[in-house]
Symmetry: none
Subunit: 413 residues, 2 copies
Amino acid sequence: MSAEIICVGTELLLGDIVNTNVQFLAKELAILGIPHYYQTVVGDNPTRLKEVISIASQRSSILLFTGGLGPTPDDLTTETIAQHFNTPLVEKSEVIEDIQRKFQARGRQMAENNRKQALIPEGAAILPNPTGTAPGMIWQPQGNLTIMTFPGVPSEMKRMWVETAVPHLKSQGWGKEIIFSRMLRFRGIGESSLAAKVNHLFDLTNPTVAPYASLGEVRLRISCKTTSETEANTIIEPVAQEIIKIAGEDYFGRDDDTLAKVVGQLLRNKKQTVGVAESCTGGGLGGMLTDIAGSSDYFWGGVIAYDNRVKIFLLDVSPEVLEERGAVCDIIAQQMANGVKKRLGVDWGIGITGIAGPGGGTEVKPVGLVYLGIAGPNDEVESIKCTFGDRSRDIIRYLSSCTALDKLRRKLY
Amino acid sequence: MSAEIICVGTELLLGDIVNTNVQFLAKELAILGIPHYYQTVVGDNPTRLKEVISIASQRSSILLFTGGLGPTPDDLTTETIAQHFNTPLVEKSEVIEDIQRKFQARGRQMAENNRKQALIPEGAAILPNPTGTAPGMIWQPQGNLTIMTFPGVPSEMKRMWVETAVPHLKSQGWGKEIIFSRMLRFRGIGESSLAAKVNHLFDLTNPTVAPYASLGEVRLRISCKTTSETEANTIIEPVAQEIIKIAGEDYFGRDDDTLAKVVGQLLRNKKQTVGVAESCTGGGLGGMLTDIAGSSDYFWGGVIAYDNRVKIFLLDVSPEVLEERGAVCDIIAQQMANGVKKRLGVDWGIGITGIAGPGGGTEVKPVGLVYLGIAGPNDEVESIKCTFGDRSRDIIRYLSSCTALDKLRRKLY
């Protein structure tokens, strides 16, 4: 028993829209514990849609369709499904009445082509659409095969899913066992190095452990299928704790924890404050820190010192060092960190200066070279040299901010 | 001859991420004029992946794979493809060397499991990955079938597509008649209002005109299919000019023009400079301005004045006004704009102060209330009240920065 999601729409093949429907349904299936192995996208073409239905109905037992339920001639999901299973369409008078009511409420007349939306295969049940004119259906055209159709409009699809499809699936026995998972998040270690350290856990079956790479961090997901959150914790936590112990300080948080959130929590616990002095990131680190609601508890602000004059005017950076060594060096990063710490009167100052590119690199100071400065409460100040390589400007800027947060995090432990 | 996109990754089946790769590739195929009828997503499971390859290779002649090229045991796209076509894998020493070089550049050692990434089917060519460790391949395992593989990391995939895959496809004769389009971009007018103004153009067939709504702006796409850019311009430009005339100052740019880029160009032309004083945006406006390479020509920097003390220390905002009226008001926005303008010695100062939420709103000053201040070269200073409504924190912050840029843009005309 497994589900397959089939999205119908030429706009998806043209790349005009991003397919958020499939992500929503995929998540929902995972929560209900319904296995789901394939997603297919096909255009508004009856021949190819029929072929897709034929393949899917052989390998999957629940087919979820989105799109192609509208009133226009190119909307042909329902009739193509009916044709594939050699079943005639019947007109549902209650759907016609519902559509007429909705048009009236908007002060309009139902168009003749909306009548098409009331046709469903003989034997199928209406899957009501409370907000739009296109209802879906729930149909069992053959033993061990359930078909559900939804419109492509995400808000309509979601409401129909929650209000009718989920209760129906639960009544069929699904959702008793659901998938719980924890995402553990790491920074400062590559995917392959972390994988090598926890390699013995990848063969586990309950829970399962799987790695995910993502820009600036590595993630491990621990999942299990069970009936209650308490039981899930009993299964997942020992493995989580083992991984956290192995990873040491490279582990920074789980699930929704971002570096900015974790650093914020650590600062709040210590009743300490931070300010930033940003050159190449231009405000990005401040932006990351203030993404977190309530960050005013520990983040006071800072200086965007993009031009060297601002470094001198507002951060008291030495004009001589700027002249001699240039803005991208360890001393300037330290002076920026110290400068913002002193000017603002905060406990921690972070300075970032580097070459984000694409221009401005030299052999000695290539694109991707970034110096971080961290000035702390005991007057110590440190600089860290980062070489992010010849990557894109936005990635270098993003990684600079992430690394700065990560270095501060380690100092706050 | 048609292409099929096959995305491999259990994270897609679990709904952990939204599949932006498939949208990117779909758009690119449309531009090249390569027909594309199916998209398939399958998990990291060799049996099911083999089945998908079998189906796709019968109905499509170009298969584009994303995902499953990493170093861990569950990354098995390459080996499964090779197995399906009964072809042995060979180790490419140049890939090993490339991976080692990349690890060295980041000051790390290559892990043993990265060696796996150098295996490709005998007869296949490397599809180089300039930024990551996972190269792809271009392979013709049988007549009339071309396979290309890409990693799942979007930035790596995109660069490989642009730098290697597109030239390869063009050398095969694709892309002679291609779809050219111009995206016109507007701000300060709603989608329906703009649509009403240019309604007579939506029935055109060559070029076509279609509206796209996107956060903080409205776009109109003008497209035509033809063989040369010159011809495309002849078809598209008259319509573009008509729309630009109708939209007036609400039109701000086309294609890759962002507000930050357009404002930057206007400042550069006038040889003027700008600085920012950000409270609720916390650095986001500076981040937007410095997203643009070369922004140091006109952007000097600014102050992130998240805490009121920073507003007083570094922007000379009046403590009395702060006390009496609170930080979110027109006078503070003006004082912030003036303060940064004077402290930095720039031509334009922008101040932003508001309530981004979700907490901190009151009946008088609800979430979404934002004041912008703009101080200009002739000592004039203006404030603008924005009410973005009870939207999410990140949207309110984003729209605040966009609106500030848009207001400055109109002053620079």
